[in-house]
Symmetry: C2
Subunit: 192 residues, 2 copies
DNA sequence: CCCTTTCCGCTACTGCGGTTTCGTAAATCA
DNA sequence: TGATTTACGAAACCGCAGTAGCGGAAAGGG
């Protein structure tokens, strides 16, 4: 009694998610209209609602689908690793439309399910930083009187803070300064 | 050439702001409907739009209106001051509905004018922290190899980061840890 | 081959909420 | 008083989330 009736078109899911991602990138969460997603995907709106019961559900699925992680392999220099990582995250954030980040945060604040999926989206970055910070602590580069989690927040948090609140730019220099502030000045920095 | 034409009803502003506050408290940002605000204020929607060009502008004005700033008078202990200030900001943030903060950020990301208003909204807090950090630097409590602005970001940024991104709670302990991380451990902390 | 079931695309419709249009009221200026 | 300028309220406009009803398509069961 499994395959009764006409089977679902297997291509639909992919096409819809792809279209939705494009719309989300372009217009943000609020600007994402189901009508447009349907049109872009070459699919009827009802077909979308047959798979996802609401716009929020669709976005949840979509975010899980996104997952473009910051590429990163750790070397033996923790300071360099950390700088590279924070800089990379800053670059990702600046290349992402600010409205997207803000809208995702807003949607997450409103809907627990979205909150969860969005959190997993950022979690990868967060975790990567945590690992490097832990390694730096092992290497004795960091004062150990503070929990690593807090240091991570102080490295990554300011990026979101600038992006969403103060509106200041996320330059590579800024990223470097953040790392310097947490690790203390390196030998080369102290010359200036 | 001042008073040409029919003068604006002076009572409108207050009535609308009051009504909007009530609606915001009751329904949140998204649930705040201009229709209901107008009805509750006993005013036509156009009358609202003549004074504020959009819902977001109205909400910004509203928040500015009820703005009871973080009260703060600096004492002679910079560490204590800073802890108190960061803790107070954290408390304010947690007592504010998260959606409101997120929605304001989203609105700001979408519209430059709103961005400006919202920025001035947070600016007071930011400035207060900056002053105390500068004072702490004068007192030799802070390593001087980092610009004060960055330290401020590392004190305040994590609060917004937790609130909007990771969703972790903003406890007083967390605020204290942030300060400790920036200033280094105090004598009393080192005992533990 | 029909029958049933499920999917699909299409169109229209409801309801809601932000924003605008328009006719009219209240003020100043000549 | 009459022309002009600005404010006001009512109603309309518009976009969008979500639903409903249709004819037709693609599968399986008899």
């Amino acid at each position: 009694m499994v395959g009764r009736g006409r089977p679902r078109d297997a291509e639909v899911e992919g096409k819809v998610l792809e279209a939705a991602v494009a719309e989300l990138r372009q217009r943000g969460y609020e600007g994402l209209a189901m009508d447009r997603v349907a049109e872009r995907a070459g699919v009827a709106k009802t077909t979308i609602y047959r798979r996802w019961s609401s716009k929020a559900e669709l976005v949840v699925a979509l975010i899980t689908h996104l997952r473009d992680d910051v590429p990163f392999e750790p070397g033996d220099d923790s300071r360099r690793d950390l700088t590279a990582l924070v800089t990379a995250i800053a670059a990702r954030l600046t290349s992402t439309p600010t409205t997207l980040v803000a809208d995702l945060a807003a949607a997450a604040a409103r809907d627990p399910r979205i909150s969860e999926s969005v959190r997993t989206l950022w979690a990868a970055r967060h975790r990567a930083v945590t690992e490097v910070v832990a390694k730096a602590q092992q290497d004795g580069l960091v004062l150990t009187h503070v929990a690593p989690a807090v240091l991570v927040d102080q490295l990554v948090g300011p990026l979101y803070y600038r992006l969403l609140v103060t509106g200041e730019p996320l330059t590579p220099e800024y990223a470097r300064t953040l790392v310097t502030s947490v690790l203390g000045p390196s030998r080369s920095d102290q010359e200036s």
